[in-house]
């Protein structure tokens, strides 16, 4: 495995020849990823979708550098590409307040500390800065995680099913919030979800993975303008076009 930097900031080139989970107990070694080859342009919103267990999160962890045990190479654009990661669970420090959690994501003395209040206002957490995460609802914790992810202004933002296990209105509110944040501060996003509607609503490009052959089986550009993404009928029609073969 290797992670190197090259080309334009925010671009990515991912080659995973093979990723295997080693044998454990009676279970044989299993290939999770096979022959993955992706090139991502700066500023694009790429959605990785597919059934549970097809290797989406594994691929995201490989890109993040959290899983170095694979055959292949991840090339990050620019000499000091900054990666951000919004995890499936908010992963806030429960013993630090919302403000402290966001502040800790910034280097000590960073001027962006002054933007935290504005960011909290933007994600609807004004007045909750001094609350501990355990006293907030899951939806609010996810808002705080979004604020932490965006305040660092990453060149590439990785998101692993960040709206899973939320009720529909809350998840929809957070999707709109994410689009707002992304428009406010455009960055390359790689977003993992198994929700096809969410994939079409958010992504500019959809990479569909299959668990049968552990690779990407479809690479599709989403043909929706920003205004059409909030139109449920247009989203469903595009979803039908992209996923017509099951």
């Amino acid at each position: 495995m290797a992670t190197v930097t090259d080309t334009a900031t925010g671009s990515l080139s991912v080659r995973v020849a093979r990723k295997i989970y080693p044998a454990s107990g009676q279970r044989e070694a299993q290939p999770v990823l096979n022959g993955i080859s992706i090139d991502i342009e700066p500023g694009s919103f790429v959605v990785l979708t597919g059934p549970s267990g097809c290797g989406k999160s594994t691929l995201l962890n490989i890109i993040a550098g959290l899983d170095p045990d694979f055959e292949g190479e991840v090339k990050l654009g620019g000499p000091d590409t900054h990666l951000g990661y919004i995890f499936q669970s908010p992963r806030l420090l429960p013993w630090r307040t919302v403000r402290e959690n966001i502040e800790l994501a910034l280097p000590a003395g960073d001027p962006r500390v002054g933007q935290i209040d504005d960011m909290l206002r933007h994600v609807g957490l004004e007045g909750f800065a001094s609350q501990y995460p355990e006293r907030l609802s899951l939806g609010m914790q996810r808002r705080a995680a979004l604020a932490r992810g965006f305040i660092t202004e990453p060149d590439v933002l990785l998101m692993d099913e960040p709206f899973v296990s939320l009720d529909d209105p809350t998840a929809q509110g957070l999707r709109e919030l994410l689009i707002g944040l992304w428009n406010r501060r455009p960055t390359t996003v790689i977003f993992v979800t198994h929700d096809r509607t969410e994939a079409v609503m958010l992504g500019t490009r959809i990479l569909r993975m299959s668990s049968a052959n552990a690779t990407i089986v479809q690479d599709e550009t989403v043909r929706l303008s920003p205004s059409e993404r909030t139109d449920r009928d247009k989203v469903l029609a595009e979803q039908e076009r992209i996923f017509r073969d099951g």
Partner: protein, 261 residues
Amino acid sequence: MQRPSPLRSAETPEWVSRLAWGLGSIVAFFAFWEVMAILIQHRHLPGPTVVFAAMMREATSGELLYHIGMTLYRVAIAFTLAMLIGSAIGIALGRNGKADRFFDTWLILFLNLPALVVIILCYVWFGRTELAAILAVAINKIPNAAVTVREGARSLSRDLSEMAHMYRFGYWRTLRHVTLPQLAPFFLAAARNGLSLVWKIVLVVELLGRSDGVGFQLGVYFHMFDVAMILAYALAFIFVVQIIEFGVLQPLGNRVNRWRR
């Protein structure tokens, strides 16, 4: 219709209610003790009034404070040493599976080694010195602290470590904001158990090989069969340990857990 509780009305803060229960319970205990002492009428069971009178005599002579001070000094040094060394061992074993597998048997061995054996061996090997006394107490407590902190180190969240890595916390920020807060409840549990264990062992160490401290005094009054003085020293020391519990450990525990719902 809602009826007010006879013990705690809506206006009574919880701490007042708890204090009232605590005081009531202590008064009841001393009353029971006094009644038993009056009924039995034996010089080996003095009542609380006799014990408190003996305590006052020893306090005004300065003896009580001196010996409690010496015991507290030994408790403090042995406790600090044991916590530092035990925590370091616990963290090392909790984070390194191979070391844990290898040294686990050693830990079990030391955990089951009777305190008295360690004390006797320390006095035999190093003489009846202050160093031997403190070492004997610390060695008794180290495995206990190591086992408790090891559990904490084993259960450190990988999710939070990954988060800290992705957000570039660096070593010191990760240690301060991610690792130590997760270990804090385990440190506190080790400290709580440790304090109660250490002061009991210090008394034995003093009884067997020192010429001052509460343990030494208990030995002296045991030879004189002066039960009132034995109880006076025991009560005075329990009082001091309770002050440490309520004045230091409980506020520390509340601070460590303030973020919990």
